[in-house]
Symmetry: C2
Subunit: 207 residues, 2 copies
């Protein structure tokens, strides 16, 4: 038998990180060589342990999983990336693929399939939930311009226009215009609804 596949696990929740390690360690051809809880620790830890496949969560402090995937592929091109995430946001899949991820699995897929997904990714195949792929195609890329997403992001925690204007160093009128545009593009009737829709589609990723 050949060498086992070396894995790196990145998830901010220590419990699920450890549980995933236990699950994958049951497979004789897999071995977990590294675990991190922050996106900005992925590359350094990968450099140290040289894993064959990295399993990355999208929601992580420091650096989100998509950005971590891009950084990892740039630093260690030989290391495959399998995104493992809670939310099947259409935009997440698109962004992950653009960042060079080799697979995308949502956390409500059966546990038995995870090891198989890891093996496929390691073999050079792409692994994508077909339902999510179809949804991604249907939803399309974000229609929002950079400013509009920025304004929506700032509006997430529910501040007034004046707050947003101050935070973004813009005029209040400009903020309202961008918000209005975003509301129109998302088909929302509210600022709040626009935020919700954009978030559900994964259009608010980044900082």
């Amino acid at each position: 038998m050949t060498e086992p596949i070396k894995l790196l696990l990145a998830d901010d929740q220590a419990l699920v990180r450890g549980a995933l390690a236990a699950l994958l360690s049951l497979e004789p051809d897999l071995t977990v060589v590294a675990e991190v809880g922050r996106g900005d620790e992925v590359v350094a830890e990968a450099r140290r342990t040289d894993p064959d496949v990295a399993l990355l969560d999208v929601e992580m402090p420091g650096l989100d999983g998509i950005a971590a995937a891009a950084a990892l592929r740039a630093a260690l091109p030989a290391c495959r990336v399998l995104m493992v995430t809670t939310f099947g946001r259409p935009g997440y899949l698109r962004r992950a693929m653009e960042a060079g991820a080799n697979g995308f699995v949502v956390k409500d897929t059966p546990a038995r399939q995870l090891a198989e997904a890891v093996r496929r990714v390691h073999a050079g195949l792409r692994v994508v939930d077909p339902t999510l792929a179809a949804e991604t195609l249907a939803t399309g890329a974000s229609p929002l311009t950079e400013r509009e997403t920025g304004v929506l992001r700032a509006a997430r925690d529910g501040g007034t226009v004046a707050d947003l204007a101050g935070a973004l160093h813009l005029s209040e009128g400009t903020v309202r215009n961008h918000l209005s545009a975003a509301i129109g593009k998302t088909g929302a009737r509210n600022r709040a609804e626009a935020v919700r829709i954009a978030e559900q589609n994964g259009w608010l990723l980044g900082d």
Copy 2:
């Protein structure tokens, strides 16, 4: 050696459910006898398999983990309940304890401690994250009246006042009054901010 402790796992994400099963099965004195993905399946499955300890997530379809805990304690008083949840919302802990849970663990505690928490709960001890407990005491119970929380819940997905009034069979003016009261009590400056604050404190649980 005595009989192993029988566990029931309830979590809506199949992957983490299976991973937790793998993690706990590594312990020789623990055995997973049941897994469910919905809150409203907990009691039936527990009746069938008679577990010693049930690990329940709070966020679940069908019935939230708190309500499931209450139902389970009523149906099988001998079965201990350990809440295992993503969010350490102060209100969650309070509500869980009121529902009769024996322990409360957030998902970013180290994986090694989970088995120990299970054993403690099984032994009749209470297990609570001390940080979260302090925060819960500080935050206090929800200051919101029943109607106010209902209105805030309905306002979560960002509809207009007319929408809320229609959904709740209230006058628009009444809705605005309740919203205003909720905004005042939460210290928010917005409907959106009020929703966010209430949600972070775990005051919006239920339907």
